[in-house]
């Protein structure tokens, strides 16, 4: 599985490109260029030229879009993306930016473009917050980031978020990589040891 990160200036968020196969750098012939590989995008906060170059420069075609939650800094690029790629959208919310989605719920396991994805609901930052587990990576959206948990509307939602993180995320055995919706990357062990909101 190959993962690339793109920084979205819209909302200062991270967008991730995931593909089962590695990029085809150095391909030169027309037939090689046509041999695109399927990929999926997580949280297109913005769809700009640099994201397009990341996709096309590596000969990928976006087949699916996964949304960790329906906040502008994570979905704003969806409209532009849908004009370029006939990608299906997966989220907890049934409609995002006017597009009907394939609704995901806790415990779902789906296979998209040969990538196996486990869906974990982690409400608190928003009611529709999802974490996607793919192999040894957790794409956590705004549920948890490097050293922090997501912002919440009130103390009740904060308690819910912390309880859910402890129950469903921190309890996962081993040391998985954390690719959050904003800021630096991390690992599960680092969050167990240094997260300012969980200590």
């Amino acid at each position: 599985m190959n993962v690339e990160v793109h920084f979205s200036v819209m909302g200062f968020s991270n967008c991730f490109l995931v593909a089962a196969e590695s990029p085809q750098r150095g391909k030169t012939t027309e037939s090689e260029k046509r041999d695109t590989k399927e990929a999926l995008l997580i949280d297109p906060g913005i769809f700009d030229e640099s994201l397009l170059m990341l996709i096309e420069g590596n000969h990928y075609e976006i087949k699916h879009v996964l949304l960790t939650h329906n906040h502008q800094s994570h979905v704003h690029g969806l409209k532009t993306l849908k004009k370029i790629y006939a990608a299906s959208v997966y989220a907890r919310s049934p409609v995002v930016e006017g597009f009907r989605t394939n609704v995901l719920k806790d415990g779902d396991t789906i296979n998209l473009s040969n990538v196996c994805i486990t869906v974990i609901e982690v409400p608190g930052h928003s009611e529709d917050s999802l974490v996607f587990k793919m192999e040894n990576i957790l794409f956590t959206g705004d549920a948890i980031g490097a050293g922090r948990i997501g912002n919440t509307h009130d103390s009740t939602m904060r308690s819910l978020l912390i309880d859910t993180l402890e129950e469903k995320i921190l309890s996962i055995p081993g040391n998985l990589f954390i690719f959050p919706g904003h800021g630096p990357l991390s690992t599960l062990d680092a969050e167990r040891n240094f997260n300012a909101d969980l200590l």
């Binding site: 599985m1 190959n2 993962v3 690339e4 990160v5 920084f7 200062f12 590695s22 192999e135 040894n136 990576i137 490097a146 050293g147 922090r148 912002n151 055995p173 081993g174 040391n175 990589f177 904003h182 800021g183 630096p184 990357l185 991390s186 690992t187 062990d189 680092a190 040891n193 240094f194 997260n195 300012a196 909101d197 200590l199």
Partner: protein, 198 residues
């Protein structure tokens, strides 16, 4: 970043080291592995998608390298020059760096959480989205660096220079700072309390 094959030991969920079928914990001949890994770093200018966890480097020059998607977890580096090198999506967590030269380096989305740094120089570097949470940083300089969106949460810093740095969105919540100098830096754009981040 490409994920790696797992260690062949049943029940082990760690990644196998580059060129091997075992992870660092199950590797018996660590000396040979260390020599191989050092050779790879020294002999290539572009290094991608390898698990080089537990690597020990002493008195070496790894200047002007282009490194991406590498696992350097538990690394030990003493008197190593990384000057002018470019790192992207690299994991250096729980590593030890002593007298290392990172000047003019470019780091994007690199994780150093739980690591210790002593007498290291990051001057004039671009360190974007760096994770320095839980680090112990002593007598180090980040002078004239761009640290945009880097985190130093729960870090312990002693005699550290952040003079003339870009500290936009840099997070120092719960850090302990002794003789840390923010002169000429936009520290008002950084976060020092949990309240300031919400």
């Amino acid at each position: 970043m490409i994920l790696f094959p797992y260690c062949e030991v049943k029940g082990c969920d760690a990644f196998a080291l580059y060129g091997h079928t075992l992870c660092l914990r199950h590797m018996k001949d660590r000396d040979s592995y260390n020599k191989e890994a050092n050779h790879i770093l020294a002999s290539h200018s572009i290094i991608e998608n390898l698990n080089l966890s537990g690597l020990k480097i002493d008195s070496a020059s790894l200047a002007s390298k282009d490194v991406s998607g590498i696992l350097f977890s538990g690394m030990g580096a003493h008197h190593v020059s990384f000057q002018g090198s470019k790192f992207r999506l690299c994991f250096f967590e729980n590593s030890t760096f002593e007298v290392c030269d990172f000047r003019n380096s470019n780091m994007q989305y690199c994780v150093f959480s739980g690591s210790s740094f002593r007498s290291c120089d990051f001057s004039s570097s671009d360190i974007l989205h760096g994770n320095f949470n839980g680090t112990h940083i002593v007598q180090c300089s980040f002078q004239n660096s761009d640290l945009y969106f880097s985190h130093f949460i729960n870090a312990i810093m002693e005699e550290v220079s952040f003079v003339d740095c870009n500290l936009r969105k840099v997070n120092f919540v719960n850090s302990q700072r002794t003789a840390v100098n923010f002169k000429y830096s936009n520290f008002q754009d950084a976060y020092f309390t949990q309240e300031s981040t919400s």
